[in-house]
């Protein structure tokens, strides 16, 4: 039994090391004195110093973060409303909507990217920040919808009727009765959407066409000539910030779960 448990742990550990090895290497070598990611020549912070003085990187970070934020907020709004609406559709119409929601998730990103590019070309919309944002909202919405729909199914539909029964108008009932019950799904959807938006390369690449660069496209254009360790320094910072944030959120939710029954986890 003990051997088996050890083997299981060992297996998990190997997979996790596989996942984190390049991340670890990136972070370690961001403190390297030389540009090399193979030879350690001495500790230095000068990539971090350079990072602070580079306006093009700051611009890319700003584009990445602002687009991820606006797109995931917009997607959360549109997607939550859509899920509540779809939940009341007849089966057939709901199925059609679900199929359309599947498309951006199943479709190859490159196809989604070029199809949107064609749309913008066709209607003569100049590619840039706004087209990238619209594209991000498009692929973010399904994540929200598919996070919220199961919560709506778990919810007792009688609660909405009960609210009407006691004199609530529909808008009020949705706000005060439905939304609080599906809130965990909305939060999960938002986080997923934000993560996807943050990490996206393919669709950003096609819908901005170099007119605006987020971190992904900036790194891609840089990769051809060799990546400047400044970027490594930057991602090390961002990665650590995210871990910190997650720790804070987790600690808070642990405190809350002690008071309240658990409502779903990060899926």
């Amino acid at each position: 039994m003990k051997v088996k448990l050890f083997l299981k742990r060992f297996y998990l550990a190997v997979i996790l090391i596989f996942m984190y090895l390049p991340i670890g290497a990136l972070i370690v070598f961001s403190f390297n004195e030389s540009k090399s990611m193979a030879k350690w020549t001495g500790f230095s912070l000068h990539w971090y110093e350079q990072l602070l003085q580079d306006p093009s990187i700051a611009e890319a970070v700003w584009v990445t973060v602002s687009i991820a934020m606006i797109a995931s907020l917009a997607a959360t709004f549109i997607g939550t409303l859509a899920a509540v609406g779809m939940d009341n559709f007849r089966k057939k119409s709901k199925n059609i909507m679900v199929n359309f929601t599947y498309i951006p998730m199943v479709n190859a990103e490159i196809v989604t990217g070029i199809s949107l590019l064609l749309l913008f070309i066709f209607f003569n919309i100049p590619r840039g920040y706004w087209t990238m944002l619209l594209a991000h909202i498009t692929f973010d919405i399904p994540f929200v919808i598919f996070s919220v729909l199961p919560k709506l199914r778990q919810m007792d539909p009688g609660t909405y009727e009960a609210a009407l029964d006691m004199g609530a108008r529909p808008a009020y009932a949705v706000r005060k009765v439905i939304l609080p019950q599906i809130a965990p799904g909305i939060v999960t959807g938002f986080l997923l959407a934000f993560t996807m938006s943050f990490d996206d390369f393919m669709i950003s690449f096609f819908t901005s066409q170099g007119a605006t660069q987020n971190l992904s496209t900036y790194i891609y254009s840089m990769a051809r000539v060799g990546i400047n360790p400044m970027i490594n320094a930057l991602s090390a910072i961002m990665f650590i910030v995210v871990i910190m944030l997650l720790l804070v959120i987790n600690l808070r939710s642990v405190k809350r779960t002690k008071k309240m029954p658990r409502v779903g986890s990060f899926r």
């Binding site: 009688g158 609660t159 009960a162 609210a163 029964d165 108008r169 009020y172 309240m260």
Partner: protein, 362 residues
């Protein structure tokens, strides 16, 4: 008697062309405890939801105090509902659940607190205001659901199988309590259930529904003692239902014998169904000549009585309730007195007398 509070006038309801309610004519008197009784899918809940305003009749009219309530949304109707699975708001505590309707009416905080406090007392949950809904037992949740509806002082309280999820002991307790509340508050209750025992013990009047049609309306005694057709008889209690025919007034032939009965007004030799309640059959081991005889095929203890199946010598199966124990294989006999025999028409719906069809429709 007292005033009609709700009138159903020729109400039909269809979903996608399928009729779930058919020509419902029904009135509910003020302060009455009316039960809509029927098997699942019979349309009783739909009827309730029409009163609440969640469904609209396809045809016909529904009136509250003589005024049509067609098209009036649920939030403008002076009726409240206790939902089947309670439908309590899981994100609000007990107090906020009950206060939901009052807050919508923009009542003063002090008034709300007093009303909610009174309600909590009425349902026996004083001091539970701060509790989380999820932390309550099924019975307590049930009480909160009732309080949440009653606090709005509705003209009619609609209850959709409110006790279905409770275990037997609680259910019986709550039955008595609901009845008590209804009497003290003087509110009309419309109660939906598939449990005939519940219906019989609580109601002033029962409407038995099957297949979207009202089969019989009457007091519990009427329904139980004089079922109009075999569906009602069968649904109200497990019964012996035997085909026979009416020889003449007061004489019916069934189970290969002629019996004196109290029924008349049938055609000569008209085919009929005869209902004999299992508890009306007194079986004995001391068999006399004029008795129907048979052999006990099984005995089941049901808590207060034994349910005994008797295989009659002339081929009929009899269901008998007795407080006495009989073993399988026992030879037994019984006689049937005239008032044990209920003769009914064969056709289920044809000659049904519809109670309470208001003047307007006739």
């Amino acid at each position: 008697m007292s005033q009609h509070i709700i009138d159903f006038l020729g109400v039909y309801k269809e979903y996608d062309g399928v009729e779930v309610l058919s020509n419902i004519n029904l009135y509910i008197r003020q302060n009455e405890f009316l039960t809509l009784l029927g098997p699942s899918g019979c349309g009783k809940t739909t009827l309730l939801r029409i009163i609440a305003g969640f469904e609209e009749p396809t045809r016909g009219d529904v009136r509250l105090f003589g005024e049509s309530i067609k098209g009036i949304p649920p939030y403008k109707r002076r009726v409240n509902t206790v939902f089947q699975k309670y439908a309590l708001f899981p994100h609000l505590n007990v107090f906020d659940n009950i206060a939901f309707g009052l807050k919508l009416k923009k009542m003063k905080k002090s008034v709300i607190e007093k009303k909610v406090g009174d309600m909590l007392k009425l349902v026996g949950l004083s001091g539970y205001g701060d509790r989380d809904i999820a932390k309550l037992s099924g019975g307590q949740q049930q009480r909160v659901a009732i309080a949440r509806a009653l606090v709005n002082e509705p003209e009619v309280l609609l209850l959709d199988e409110p006790l279905g999820a409770l275990d037997l002991k609680f259910r019986q307790e709550m039955q008595l309590e609901l009845k008590r509340m209804q009497k003290t508050l003087g509110i009309t209750f419309v109660y939906v259930t598939h449990d005939q025992e519940e219906a019989l013990t609580m109601s002033d009047a029962i409407a038995v529904i099957d297949g979207g049609v009202i089969q019989q309306i009457g007091t519990p005694e009427q329904i139980y003692n004089e079922p109009k057709n075999s569906f009602v008889a069968d649904f109200i209690g497990e019964s012996n239902i035997i085909s026979g025919n009416m020889k003449r007034d007061y004489l019916v032939h069934f189970a290969d014998n002629d019996f004196t009965c109290l029924d008349r007004g049938f055609n000569e030799n008209e085919p009929v169904k005869v209902v004999i309640r299992p508890e009306d059959i007194n079986i004995t081991k001391n068999i006399a000549d004029d008795m129907i005889t048979g052999t006990v095929s099984s005995t089941l203890f049901m808590g207060v009585h034994y349910e005994i199946r008797v295989h009659g010598d002339n081929g009929f199966e009899w269901l008998v309730h007795s407080t006495e124990f009989f073993e399988a294989g026992n030879r037994v006999g019984f006689t049937l007195e005239p008032d044990d025999i209920h003769v009914m028409e064969v056709s289920q719906y044809d000659k049904m007398r519809v109670d309470g069809v208001p003047e307007a429709v006739k």
